[in-house]
């Protein structure tokens, strides 16, 4: 932090100067096809110097729009009213010239998508220097700006900053670009930093790195921070105060501990209950919030959450409740007429904790416990093997040239992985982008002979399949994709979508017609939905349609490719519960690929952790999560934020250094060693083993294997 001291004025300043940012009664609307969208409807909040305010909400809640309004970066057709005071100065109504003097110097912003946030044609260093030069006209020389931009890059943890400053954005990985954007944001020592979903586009380990950088940035600048997110975990350990938004309004605000432990708005409660948790000891059903967020075009009267609220009474439908103080706490506000009653339920719990709040959520929202499939009672090794993958390898050539391609390298996307799935079992495959999990899945779905190794589906080796038998195997193995928008053909009514696999497999028309309503009912949709087009359904519903299509042929194995990662948390819970229920009811086996370990923890029986095309750890989900053996698993687990401020603050986080090495040129020996904290702490004579010998997968505990020479359990969640 020595560099930082010379760079920035000492943080702090007197606390009696009043809030840095004071937003009152902010309203923003946009014209749209179907009418004016009231994106923000009367929002008020304050940020004190040095304070971290977390704004949480699902898509469409108006959280991003309100922050763009503060920056004065809303598109010109937006209509804004209310007041935004920054250090006592009203920002609404200022001209672009006046605002541009504040932007970047006093208030700065970190955007969501680091991949597109930097101009592709200028070097990273130049772009940071530009931010310094534009505010230091005449005072800062070009050389000084260039020098300082290198210092800033160094501060945000970019190795070889002087070198890398000369690189173009496309030569940076996503995490590096987000660091560069943070460097840009703190360049002029601002008093307020707005971070709009700064980690949403990143992998968990990178997310942990970036959050750490943000914390550093806050420490060195002493700025107030507004961090906007949809993930209650991300803000739990970082924010001082929390504001929950729904349908363009704040519905609950307060100190972060208060809001997590004693939520007084059913929406907040539901959100807390809907998150699958990586630290859950036993499987608890998730709280799904039924329905959809309301359309912001013409909101009905009353509380906008009422249609989805299990506690709604008639009075909720008449007036929209204002944000009002809870229990004279002075700090905790909720917008619910029944918040006192909710308080009364909570008091019954022994002591305030997030776990207790989740229990209350389960009670209020009425969640059923979902059973296990019957086969699960038979010991694992006596059950049929549904999918067996042995030493599978998939490599892509790296080619150059247009007409005559020549090979200049090989990407080892999947490099010898072995696992099996038994009847009635869910195997979760987890790993960050580039680890080969998607390739694994596509190889299995392709049903072609793998480059090396073997794949057997239901006892049939795929390399022995011919056209007809391959089609027969396809019948037993179905897939559900990630993106609910892309996985259904927009030109087909969903009845046809669901019918398609049955038509391909030559089932007669009458039977198909009979089966469609059954399937719709099975996934919680109505039979009259069959005539509608995918565009008429919400993300969660579309994912249900995708599941119905997968189940049409009564498969044995369903391959799920990140089935819930594109959905909002409250919707996600419903889909996860549905998957759980179907498994119990139909005795399905799942191959569940995900990057979100909490979801895997919730749904899987066994888990395989992948890193650079290898399985580094595999085993029973409880065993792997409670005592991970491989350092990568440990780092991965420790990077996942837990939606519990007290636990989160107390947690020690393993921050991995650097980026994923190129799969075209993986490190020798153990592939993880370049980023491994354990390896770094070893004496040189032990290190050489990691460098020279590839660690084999060794049994560490019953149904628990890890591929590390020096594996030892460590508790991280």
């Amino acid at each position: 932090m020595t560099a930082a001291d010379t760079l920035f004025e000492p943080a702090g300043g007197s606390s009696d100067v009043g809030p840095v940012l004071e937003v009152s009664d902010l309203a923003v609307s946009f014209p749209s096809e179907s009418g004016r969208v009231q994106a923000v409807r009367g929002l008020s909040y304050q940020v004190s110097p040095g304070e971290v305010l977390g704004i949480v909400g699902e898509s469409g809640s108006g959280k991003s729009v309100s922050s763009l309004a503060v920056m004065g970066l809303l598109p010109s057709q937006a209509r804004i009213s209310g007041s935004i005071k920054f250090q006592g100065r009203e920002l609404i109504g200022l001209s672009d010239d006046q605002l541009s003097k504040i932007r970047g110097r006093k208030i700065s912003m970190v955007f969501q998508d680091p991949l597109s946030a930097l101009t592709p044609v200028y070097t990273v260093g130049d772009q940071i220097a530009e931010g310094l030069l534009v505010h230091g006209k005449g005072r800062v020389t070009k050389q000084a700006a260039a020098k300082r931009s290198v210092e800033l890059l160094d501060l945000v943890g970019i190795p070889n900053a002087a070198e890398r400053a000369k690189a173009f954005p496309h030569e940076f990985s996503g995490g590096m670009r987000q660091r560069a954007v943070i460097a840009l944001a703190i360049a002029n020592d601002p008093d307020l930093i707005i971070a709009d979903e700064p980690t949403t586009a990143l992998d968990v380990t990178v997310q942990a790195q970036v959050l750490e950088v943000l914390k550093t940035a806050q420490e060195v600048t002493g700025a107030g921070i507004v961090i906007i997110t949809h993930d209650l975990g991300v803000v739990a350990g970082f924010a001082d105060r929390l504001m929950v938004m729904y349908a363009g309004k704040a519905v609950e605000t307060g100190h972060v501990d208060e809001v997590y432990q004693r939520p007084r708005m059913p929406y907040t409660l539901g959100l807390l209950g809907s998150i699958p948790r990586v630290d859950a000891d036993e499987k608890q059903p998730l709280v799904p919030i039924e329905g959809q967020p309301p359309s912001l075009v013409d909101l009905p009267q009353g509380c906008p959450f009422a249609p989805r609220c299990p506690m709604a009474v008639d009075a909720c439908l008449t007036d929209e409740p204002p944000l009002s103080e809870v229990d004279n706490s002075g700090d905790h506000y909720a917008a619910c007429i029944r918040s006192d009653e909710l308080g009364a339920v909570e008091v019954q719990a022994d002591e305030a904790s997030v776990a207790a709040a989740v229990d209350v959520a389960a009670e209020v929202f009425g969640v059923e416990v979902i059973g296990e499939p019957e086969v699960a009672r038979i010991p694992r090794d006596q059950r049929t093997v549904v999918l067996d993958v042995r030493d599978m390898v998939k490599e892509y050539p790296v080619t150059k040239g247009v007409v005559f391609k020549r090979r200049i390298g090989t990407v080892h996307a999947v490099d010898g992985i072995t696992f099996d799935i038994r009847e009635g079992e869910t195997l979760g495959v987890v790993g960050e982008s580039g680890c080969g999990k998607t390739t694994t899945l596509m190889e299995i779905l392709g049903l072609e002979k793998p480059m090396r190794g073997e794949i057997s589906v239901l006892g049939q080796n795929v390399s022995a399949l011919n056209g007809r038998s391959r089609k027969a195997v396809r019948r037993d193995m179905q897939v559900v994709f990630q993106d609910p928008m892309a996985s259904l053909d927009p030109r087909m009514p969903i009845g046809d979508v669901i019918a398609e696999p049955m038509q391909v497999h030559g089932i007669d028309k009458e039977q198909i017609a009979k089966r469609i309503p059954e399937l719709l009912k099975l996934v919680g949709l109505r039979r009259e939905h069959a005539d509608r087009y995918p565009a008429e359904f919400s993300g969660g519903q579309r994912q249900r349609i995708g599941i119905a299509r997968a189940l049409a042929l009564e498969p044995k194995l369903v391959v799920l490719d990140e089935p819930v990662s594109a959905l909002d948390v409250s919707i996600q819970a419903g889909v996860i519960n549905l998957l759980d229920e179907l498994k119990a009811k139909l005795g399905l086996s799942y191959l569940f690929v995900a990057h979100d370990l909490s979801v895997v923890r919730h749904i899987a029986d066994r888990v395989a952790v992948m890193y650079l095309g290898k399985i580094v750890e595999i085993g029973d989900v409880d065993s792997v999560f409670s005592s991970p053996q491989h350092p990568y698993t440990q780092a991965l687990l420790s990077a996942i934020p837990i939606p519990d401020p007290i636990k989160e603050r107390a947690r020690e986080r393993i921050i991995l250094t650097g980026d994923l090495p190129s799969p075209a040129n993986p490190p020798s020996g153990c592939r993880f060693r370049t980023r491994c904290f354990l390896h770094a702490s070893l004496p040189p004579e032990k290190q050489s083993k990691c460098i020279e010998v590839e660690p084999p997968r060794a049994v560490q505990a019953p149904d628990h294997e890890a591929a590390c020479h020096y594996a030892e359990p460590r508790q991280v969640v």
């Binding site: 057709q77 359309s295 994709f481």
Partner: protein
């Protein structure tokens, strides 16, 4: 290479989570279907609607003009030479006394017929080539795209002009064929680009994994999903075909006498723009009116189909929803030069 791989991966997992300033949630109950929305937007675009009506009227006129006039295009009125518009000769007569209205309508009929046929033939061919190349990739793709490159290197005008002696005195359908042969390449490129994108879409993969054969995937999932693009391109191709036809006919390389087209009429009229202006301005006016209508209507359609360019939301920065069509066109142009597209298409290969 690796950065591209990583980018593709992470972009894939976050695509749906991207926010825009107004990340308004879909409204399942009152949601308007895409078709209705497109129709509504198109109807709101007054200019495009007027143009569409004009196209219909022009086609009607071109084919039904004998109902309105006593003259035919090859009949001469020996009592009136070079009379200005008015009387029984609505558009006047030329120097041998032929009625200009009948001539212009006959020319319009020929030009529009050629345009329509070329538009349909070239767009269908482009769809076939583009989807084949995009779906199968490999050598199929490379050889097809090489042909496209080759045909794009030479202006089609030149080749057709060279071939013109061959069809002199033969049926004009040969001319239609030639025009079509040189009109499909750009559309094919765009179709190929869209096929590449659609192929990566999950519903196509789903179809593949449920066992649908490639041919059926192309016809059932890929082509219907670019129907709108094909309609727009067909429209615009009709316009360019008419332009190409008239240009060639202007030099006598196209429609041959005694048949007339707008091109031959304009060509005949160029020398008398100041003396007998109706001989030039009337056929030229009809030509410009038609092509302009086609272009405006095509553009209106594209706007209606393009989620980002609706007037209601004007400048809203909805980066991710950027007009697929517009983008496709650009990617295509980029790609046509054999360069990596700006956003890195590396993953497809």
């Amino acid at each position: 290479m690796t950065t591209i791989l990583n980018e593709g991966d992470s972009a894939g997992t976050t695509g749906a989570a991207q926010g825009s300033p107004v990340d308004a949630a879909p409204d399942p109950d009152k949601g308007t279907s895409r078709g209705r929305l497109v129709l509504r937007r198109f109807v709101r675009n007054k200019a495009a609607l007027v143009c569409l009506a004009l196209i219909v009227v022009l086609y009607f006129l071109a084919f039904c003009y004998p109902l309105f006039t006593q003259w035919t295009y090859d009949q001469q009125d020996y009592t009136s030479f070079l009379v200005p518009p008015g009387g029984t000769h609505w558009f006047g007569t030329d120097k041998i006394g032929t009625d200009m209205f009948a001539q212009v309508m006959r020319g319009l009929q020929k030009s529009l017929t050629i345009g329509l046929l070329v538009g349909i033939i070239s767009t269908s061919f482009a769809a076939l080539v583009g989807t084949t190349a995009g779906y199968f990739l490999g050598w199929t793709d490379r050889s097809l795209m090489w042909i496209v490159d080759l045909l794009l290197t030479l202006p089609s005008f030149l080749i057709i002009a060279i071939c013109s002696p061959a069809f002199r005195g033969k049926t004009w359908l040969i001319f239609v064929g030639l025009l079509a042969v040189f009109q499909w390449m750009i559309t094919a490129r765009i179709v190929r680009g869209m096929t590449l994108t659609l192929k990566e879409r999950e519903f196509v993969k789903a179809a593949k994994f449920m066992g649908q054969p490639a041919r059926r995937i192309i016809f059932k999932h890929i082509l219907p999903n670019m129907a709108s693009l094909l309609i727009i391109d067909a429209t615009i191709n009709v316009g360019s075909a008419v332009l190409a036809e008239t240009s060639l006919s202007f030099f006598g390389f196209g429609v041959q006498p005694p048949d007339v087209s707008l091109g031959t009429l304009i060509s005949d009229g160029t020398e008398s723009t100041l003396t007998y202006p109706w001989l030039f301005f009337i056929p030229a006016g009809f030509l410009v009116l038609f092509v302009l209508s086609v272009n405006f209507a095509g553009d209106g359609l594209r706007d209606a189909l393009d989620p980002s360019s609706t007037k209601g939301r004007r400048k809203e920065s909805k980066r991710k929803a950027l007009g697929e069509l517009r983008k496709a066109k650009f990617d295509v142009q980029t790609e046509r030069r054999g360069m990596p597209a700006p956003q890195g298409e590396g993953k497809h290969r």
